[in-house]
């Protein structure tokens, strides 16, 4: 099977700092992949390179067989690469309905979906349990609901690859359970790449895990393999082995 997304020698420098350093990465269609790693390991920079929010210093990104390295972010979105922000970034002054209407009308314009804006919006809001809050300005929703709205916007883009940057940050435990169910559901029609710090969530959700450290891939494998990996334990716990 051909990977949905690959990177070759992907790098990004910020001044003298190599935030992402020669990363070769492949993502298979339909999988749920988690990216973990200590703070400052380059995880967010790496997914920003995938979504096109920032340009690489060198290397290439291939999505579904096409080189998208220099493609602007908005065109990648139209190809099906959706990104949800680490810091909640909904349109606070617009209603939940209008927030989701924006991605829905985008897919209608692109011909990637059919029907009415209203139908698409309500479907995405119902999937995330926000349907009864359609008329509420997003800024007045609780934090957990804003995170869900963010996911609803990502979903409404009909992504083939959905990149979630720390989606459970700030969620209550009860909300996290619903969230796990939701991601499993999304993964039925899309590939999911998530950056996550909450280890129980990662272990429950991910098919495979990629561990970043100092801008490079430190390890990659199934949750069991990563759990047993000594290098990963070092990176996280600072333990030394002799």
């Amino acid at each position: 099977m051909m990977p949905l997304l690959t990177t070759k020698g992907l790098s990004r420098n910020f001044g003298g700092l190599r935030a992402v350093d020669g990363v070769d990465f492949a993502l298979m269609p339909g999988e749920i992949r988690a990216i973990i790693g200590p703070n400052g390991a380059g995880k967010t920079t790496f997914v920003s390179l995938l979504s096109g929010r920032i340009r690489p210093s060198s290397g290439m990104v291939v999505f579904d067989g096409a080189d998208i390295t220099t493609m602007p972010a908005y065109k990648r979105v139209r190809l099906g690469v959706a990104y949800t922000f680490q810091i909640t970034s909904v349109f606070a002054n617009l209603t939940a309905f209008d927030n989701v209407a924006l991605p829905v009308q985008r897919t209608l314009t692109d011909g990637r979906s059919k029907g009415q804006v209203r139908t698409g919006v309500m479907a995405a809001l119902e999937r995330t349990g926000l349907a009864d809050r359609a008329g509420t300005p997003a800024g007045q929703l609780s934090y957990g609901h804003q995170r869900l709205l963010e996911v609803a916007m990502g979903l409404a883009l009909k992504p083939r690859l959905l990149i979630l940057d720390e989606p459970t940050q700030g969620l209550a435990d009860s909300e996290i359970d619903n969230f796990i169910t939701l991601v499993r559901e999304i993964a039925k029609d899309a590939t999911v790449l998530l950056i996550e710090h909450n280890m129980p969530v990662v272990m429950q959700l991910a098919d495979r895990i990629t561990v970043f450290n100092f801008g490079k891939i430190l390890a990659e494998g199934t949750p069991e393999q990563i759990r047993a990996n000594a290098e990963v334990q070092d990176a996280y716990l600072g333990a030394t082995h002799d």
Binding site: Y74, F85, L102, G135
Partner: protein, 320 residues
Amino acid sequence: MRDASPAKTYALHIGVIALLFVLNFVLPDYHQGLFARIMALAVFAMGYNLLFGYVGLLSLGHAMFFSAGLYGAGLTVYHLGWGVPEAFLAGVACGALLALAVGLLALRTSGVAFMIVTMMFAQVFYLLILYFAAWTGGDQGLVIQQAARVVSIGGASLDLTNPTVRYMSALALFSVVLLITLAIVRSRFGRVLVAIRENEERTKMLGYDTVANKLAAVVASGAICAASGAAYALLFGYVGSSFAGVQYSILPLLWVLLGGAATTLGPLVGTLFMYYVTDITSGFTSAYLLIVGVALILLVLFFPKGILGSIRERWLRWLP
């Protein structure tokens, strides 16, 4: 919010147009003339509001779009002897083309730089008008004779210098632009414009080419402002360089802020308010600008979102 009450929204807008129609027969001569002028200039404010209120782009150069319409219509009538409808369309086309050119360059900037760049372009336009005084009449301007301001439709002829014809023409333009604005604001395009105002980076990540959308808004705004300028030249018969000055870039901003940015009817309310405060106070004292200034300060203090903006915030959430 947007889809909550379309019937109420349309009823309100049609009601305002109907009220203005009736006023033609009720108002004394002096106020009838003033209202015609206010409606023509409210179109200018609506064009400005589309860009400033909905997209959040603050331009300090919109006098150039107004005067592109003014001169586009005025010069074709004066030098080429064009009829009124052709001249009007020429004015609108001049404004749209100028907006396209200025937009392509100015949209490379944002924020304060955008304000300065648009202001500079407007100054260049103003100086060009003075430079080509042989055609434009320089700072004297040009007067368009009554004979050139008659529209003949079939056998009938409409004289734009007749107060009622003038009032109805201004109302027709105002109504069309008001309904166009309302349609834009309620459309998918309008939703994207507001999203750009709220968070441009996020809008890009939803798959929108924000630069192309902003350019479309600049062109639409420029064309509407030019329509106002063209109508002004044809209805009031004077084309002058003072309309291209900095003052006429600031005025629409003021009208929109007063009436309420990002409200469809705010531009009319703001223009009306400003004109009448000036008109009434100048009847009492020669220091009327002082009173206008105080009125503005009070308004900003108590209605920071403009008259209609504050009304929407406090009482009528459904107002578009």
